[in-house]
Symmetry: C2
Subunit: 202 residues, 2 copies
């Protein structure tokens, strides 16, 4: 019974940690990461600031934890394809799922560059996650080229193409929201296709 | 003499306003807009916070003034070409000047989306400036298409191409700085060319 009591307390604590992240995500997305304080998050959850600090020593720790969650979910999208490598058009077809995820973590796409600049730990996390993704997409693009799915281009052009595609994939939603709130995945797909399609073998 | 005294005082005040903007720009670029307060700016200039507030009621007013200055300088780059419309390759050649400007106002490229989300007045300014630029580049692209400098593409593709090119132009430097501080304009040109070149008529 004592052991079970410990497990229940552990679970309860785990729930509190997750609830803090969920509440922070909601507030960061809605109000902007810069304007939300740990006190806002605690008040939103009706918990004491002390309880919040037990889990996360400061706002930056919450930002980092959310970003790590986002990066892990993103990696699962890219890597969840199993052994069958997707074709270029299948990759474009996956952008809808990525748009949903980016929408869920909109503060990352919108406030990300600013946050990473201000926190060296977060910056290391962001750069590592971005380089991992660029590496995955870059390796895929090299396979496409070897398989004749892409027109022949040299390595420098292929790297620039991958960087251009990934930058658009990462940023288009935040710009769309800034302009008119339009978050139709078809808009993001149109941008990516405008860049990718001329490189597809006929 | 009295009149001259007034003019000198006006000039001095004008200088103070400009010095506040220059100091804020330096601190925003270096430390991140979120971490810099009006007190930091006043201390950096060795003026009283009251003197700063005489010019700018709050940090947001300084951010907006700097952004307006950036947008005006950017517009001058696009519109300073005179009556001779630049060719696509001449436009790419101008990216060096734009990179210099973006580097000077790095906080705009880096913190911009986050700042615009948190301040409706700034957001209106940013969206208007961005739509103006997209309009100028879009009109130019339609002229290129009509003149046979671009392969024939439909309007939807042309708009997506322009949006993709502009998003890369706006964001590549901030990402490059995040990764390794590399700010060679050739990197930005490579990204833009990877998108544009397949559309150029042979």
């Amino acid at each position: 019974m004592a052991e079970e009591g410990v497990r229940t307390a552990d679970k309860r604590r785990g729930r509190t940690g997750a609830r803090i992240l969920d509440a922070a995500l909601e507030l960061f997305n809605r109000d902007g990461t810069g304007r939300v304080t740990t006190n806002h998050i605690a008040a939103h959850l009706r918990i004491s600031p002390g309880n919040l600090y037990y889990w996360y020593p400061d706002k930056q720790a919450i930002v980092r934890a959310l970003w790590a969650r986002y990066a892990a979910q993103q990696a699962a999208l890219w890597e969840g394809a199993g052994d069958d490598l997707p074709t270029p058009r299948e990759m474009v077809g996956r952008l809808g799922a990525l748009t949903d995820l980016t929408h869920e973590y909109l503060f990352v796409a919108r406030d990300g560059l600013a946050l990473a600049h201000e926190d060296p730990q977060l910056r290391a996390l962001v750069v590592a996650s971005r380089e991992r993704t660029l590496g995955i997409v870059g390796a895929l693009a090299r396979t496409w080229r070897a398989d004749g799915l892409l027109r022949p281009v040299d390595d420098a052009r292929l790297d620039a193409l991958v960087a251009a595609l990934w930058t658009l994939t990462e940023t288009w939603l935040a710009y769309a929201v800034l302009h008119d709130g339009a978050t139709d995945p078809a808009h993001g797909e149109a941008l990516v296709l405008a860049v990718l399609e001329p490189y597809l073998a006929a």
